[in-house]
Amino acid sequence: GAGVSQSPRYKVAKRGQDVALRCDPISGHVSLFWYQQALGQGPEFLTYFQNEAQLDKSGLPSDRFFAERPEGSVSTLKIQRTQQEDSAVYLCASSLGFGRGSPEAFFGQGTRLTVV
């Protein structure tokens, strides 16, 4: 596609509910990243995929967070048993990948998750 697409743009979840956030990266981009952005803060790294392989999940805050990219394109970030502290904007970014040109990451518009 023309850009990184994320859905839904807004999600309200009751505490304890499971949520799934979708990211559709730019076609042909090997690298895919998820970031969490709390209100008034800069984005913080969650996890990184190179094609379908999850090479780094060091930023995931707990085992309630799970991400996948089974076919090396669309990715889903799942949060189980949501808590209020999970409320944030979740940003997805993609880039060409190592050795393939510019390291620039292109971002989607994010999903704003509110846990009530």
Binding site: Y48, P103, E104, A105, F106
Partner: protein, 118 residues
């Protein structure tokens, strides 16, 4: 570990004037990239300008330019002829150079909210 510091939470500038946003970072790496991203209310991060650490020449993109001081670990953004559409959060970000196995994730500062006044 790398850190990025933006010490100006908010800045204001009159339309058509020039403003400089500050950023400092800390790293033991020698090869890396530095970026300035703009985030308007739509939330989408938009790349403003990029600097490779090995380049001594400061990057410029139209009205946007940087002052990159590698020894001082400083990377400021200058916006000339400010426009109302420049109103946004601006984030400074660091990325280590990828040698094939490492994660080339972005490390962001806390941002500076820039308001351009008419």
């Amino acid at each position: 570990a790398q850190t990025v510091t933006q010490s100006q939470p908010e800045m204001s500038v009159q339309e058509a004037e020039t403003v400089t946003l500050s950023c400092t970072y800390d790293t033991s790496e020698n090869n890396y990239y530095l970026f300035w991203y703009k985030q308007p209310p739509s939330r989408q991060m938009i790349l403003v300008i990029r600097q490779e650490a090995y380049k001594q020449q400061n990057a410029t993109e139209n009205r946007f330019s940087v002052n990159f001081q590698k020894a001082a670990k400083s990377f400021s953004l200058k916006i000339s002829d400010s426009q109302l559409g420049d109103t946004a959060m601006y984030f400074c970000a660091f990325m280590r150079q990828n040698y094939g196995g490492a994660t080339n994730k972005l490390i962001f500062g806390t941002g500076t909210l820039l308001a351009v006044q008419p």
